[in-house]
């Protein structure tokens, strides 16, 4: 948690203006202090203090809030200044609220038959704070609980009204991009059209992969392309365990596939568990889309 020191905060100045103004006016307990509620409370908490039973019993002091709870429609008793304060915070984006702590003081014990009334006041509004939950303001209200004219206890309640911290939207993890340049762009254009194009030397007719602007066998710079038929076998493979990379979940298998045409390429062997990939396994080409711009030729294991 930290103060956003030194920042102009007009909102805080406006919120401070509500300090001392009412948040509840002339509230009344829904039930008088009574033995059944005391008994339930003690049973739930396992409190066997004899002061809370029999003739002359008092209510456990910590029940103070129980006598003033508003029931299932909790906001009906809010005074206008408190509604305005909350609305200002909502408008500023502080739309979330969380109770942070409460303090109570007990001035005299309550006894069955006491009928409580109460008034609440906006006691303080903190400067803007940044917490793990988000940035906002701590608002403390103090409720004075009375029986008749007598103050019997006070209940301080603090909430954080905040704008939820925006977790930086993580872009979906994407595979490394192919490295495309003028020498190999034709291959990746083919992949987009679901074609696996091999270069064929214009002179010696040798097929080659990877793409290069000349023939390693005869040096001829001219070439055209042929479509691979898509059949191949695993020539070698690796199962990658460590380190992990975004967009990949180790362990995964990478194959060096020898195509029926006699050239090799690195790709993924899919449709087969990583630990079932073997050298010599027949594979068949398919195209998979990995994100809005990446289509890759991969090879599906053909199992017997």
């Amino acid at each position: 948690m930290g103060d956003d020191d030194g920042l102009d905060d007009d909102l805080h100045a406006r919120l401070k203006g509500y300090e001392g103004r009412p948040s509840t006016v002339a509230g009344a307990g829904r039930d008088p202090v009574n033995a059944p509620m005391i008994r339930h409370w003690c049973e739930v908490l396992g409190d066997t203090n004899p002061a809370y039973t029999g003739p002359g019993a008092t209510a456990p002091p910590t029940m103070l809030q129980a006598w003033i709870m508003a029931g299932l429609s909790p906001h009906t008793g809010r005074a206008r200044p408190y509604e305005e304060l909350l609305a200002l915070l909502d408008e500023a984006g502080c739309t979330s609220i969380v109770a942070t702590d409460c303090e109570q003081e007990y001035l005299r014990p309550l006894r069955p038959g006491d009928e409580v009334t109460y008034d609440s006041v906006i006691e303080s509004v903190s400067p803007r704070k940044t917490t793990k939950l988000g940035t906002g303001y701590f608002v403390t209200t103090r409720t004075d609980v009375r029986v008749g004219p007598d103050l019997v206890g006070t209940h301080r309640f603090r909430v954080l009204k905040y704008a939820p911290a925006r977790r930086p939207a993580k872009p979906p993890e994407r595979r490394p991009r192919p490295v495309v340049n003028r020498d190999n762009a034709g291959f990746w254009e083919g992949v987009r059209d679901h074609r696996l194009l091999l270069q064929r030397c214009a002179d010696c007719a040798g097929l080659r992969f990877p793409w290069l602007p000349g023939c390693a066998d005869c040096g001829c710079p001219d070439w055209d392309t042929v479509d691979a038929c898509g059949e191949g076998t695993v020539f070698s493979y690796v199962v990658l365990h460590h380190p992990p990379f975004p967009a990949f979940e180790p362990p995964y298998a990478i194959g060096l596939v020898e195509l029926a045409e006699g050239v090799r390429m690195v790709s993924n062997v899919v449709g087969v568990p990583y630990d079932k990939v073997r050298i010599g396994m027949p594979v068949r080409l398919e195209f998979r889309r990995y994100d809005d711009e990446l289509v890759l030729p991969v090879f599906k294991g053909v199992t017997a």
């Binding site: 495309v180 340049n181 362990p251 390429m265 993924n268």
Partner: protein
């Protein structure tokens, strides 16, 4: 076609100084400062001063430019500076560059260095998710969308095929490499695994990283710096340490070579680029596998140690695991990058020098011919270093 005749570089230059920082999980200082500390330490070791240096070589991946290291170390004018590409494949090639400069008179004293905060800063093992659309970026881009994103996984693809081809389990194939490295590291106070040998059972029980690679098949990523001083064999005679003569130095790239993703060529059970290096090292040094007394073979991941032994002809294809298990060649006596630290192969060159000086923590008595290799799975390099004969 790679070179087919003996080259004339062999025997012209020598490594005369080595220096390193500590290897740690968090150096607490800049990569430049680590580079400068390693360079100064190597010059001290060589009995030379920064003023003697006229050449610097590092990796393209290094963040400390030659000119800045020169300033930070109090060097004067430079007449040679060079960088080698392809990650750890550059390690031995920095020494080759230095030897070329020294042999041709382009420079007299050349320092090779590599320094990084690869553990506390960007760890290579944490993987790649994006590449620029350069030719290099596009080459790696064929694997990224499918989740093949880490060096371990790139190596694992070839390792799986190797196991399949030779009918081996990961435990029997890679376990001996993992255990041997940690056995040596256990005796090395500079190593991550100092005092912590492991068993085959420990290896087999370690968790999968990229199946068939386990945690104990992976190197010890580190912060640190390592430097090496190269000069002519003539000048080396006047210096305090016994020189490690560069009997042969070679680079190699294979057909259809990629960086870490050479998946599209031949049978995936070897390292053809290391075959290129091997042929040239044997031709130029006039040596054969049986002449080698210590092998310092690049081990960022254990499987490629096996393939290197096979490419160099220490054993037949598919037999390297048994070769390692039988301890037929003292291997990575500093603990390798699996056990000492992953310093991009440069610490391995330093260990080869220590073996020739007789100062290794796991000294092979009288070692006079050592093979060192650089990064595997990438265009690479190698050295045969020998004691002055």
């Amino acid at each position: 076609m790679s070179a087919r005749t003996r080259d004339s570089l062999g025997g012209r230059a020598a490594v005369v100084g080595i220096g390193a920082t500590e290897f740690s999980k968090d150096s607490g200082r800049s990569e430049l400062r680590l580079a400068a500390e390693a360079v100064r330490a190597a010059l001290d070791d060589a009995g030379l001063t920064p003023a003697d240096v006229d050449g610097l070589v590092t990796f393209t991946m290094d963040t400390s430019p030659e000119i800045t290291v020169a300033q930070a170390c109090g060097m004067g004018e430079l007449s040679f500076f060079s960088r080698v590409h392809y990650g750890g494949g550059a390690a031995c090639a920095t020494v080759q560059q230095a030897a070329l400069a020294v042999a041709t008179g382009v420079a007299e004293v050349v320092v090779c260095y590599r320094a990084f905060n690869e553990r506390s800063g960007r760890r290579f093992g944490s993987g790649v998710r994006h590449r620029e659309p350069s030719a290099e970026g596009a080459a790696l881009g064929w694997t990224l969308p499918f989740g093949l994103l880490t060096p371990a996984s790139w190596v694992a693809m070839a390792a799986q095929r190797y196991l399949y081809t030779y009918g081996l389990t990961p435990e029997e194939a890679f376990g001996p490499v993992a255990v041997t490295a940690r056995r040596h590291a256990a005796a090395n106070p500079a190593a991550y695994f100092h005092g912590r040998p492991i068993t085959l059972a420990d290896h087999a029980a370690s968790r999968w990283i990229a199946e068939p690679l386990r945690l104990l098949d992976c190197c010890q990523e580190t912060d640190g710096g390592q430097a090496l001083v190269v000069t002519s064999v003539e000048r080396a005679r006047d210096l305090p340490r016994p020189p490690a003569v560069i009997a042969a130095a070679a680079q190699g790239a294979g057909r259809a070579q990629e960086q870490m993703t050479s998946f599209y060529r031949d049978d995936l059970t070897g390292l053809p680029e290391m075959g290129v290096v091997a042929r040239q090292l044997w031709r130029t040094s006039g040596l054969a596998p049986a002449d080698i007394e210590v092998g310092i073979l690049y081990d960022h991941f254990s499987p490629f140690v096996l393939m290197q032994l096979e490419e160099f002809g220490f054993c037949a294809p598919g037999e390297a695991a048994g070769f390692v298990a039988a301890d037929r060649l003292p291997l990575n006596t500093h603990g390798g990058q699996l056990g000492e630290a992953y310093l991009h192969g440069m610490n391995g060159v330093a260990e080869a020098v220590r073996q020739l000086r007789g100062t290794s923590v796991n000294q092979v008595p009288g070692a006079s011919r050592v093979l060192v290799t650089a990064g595997t799975g990438v265009p690479t390099s190698g050295l045969v270093l020998t004691a002055q004969g």
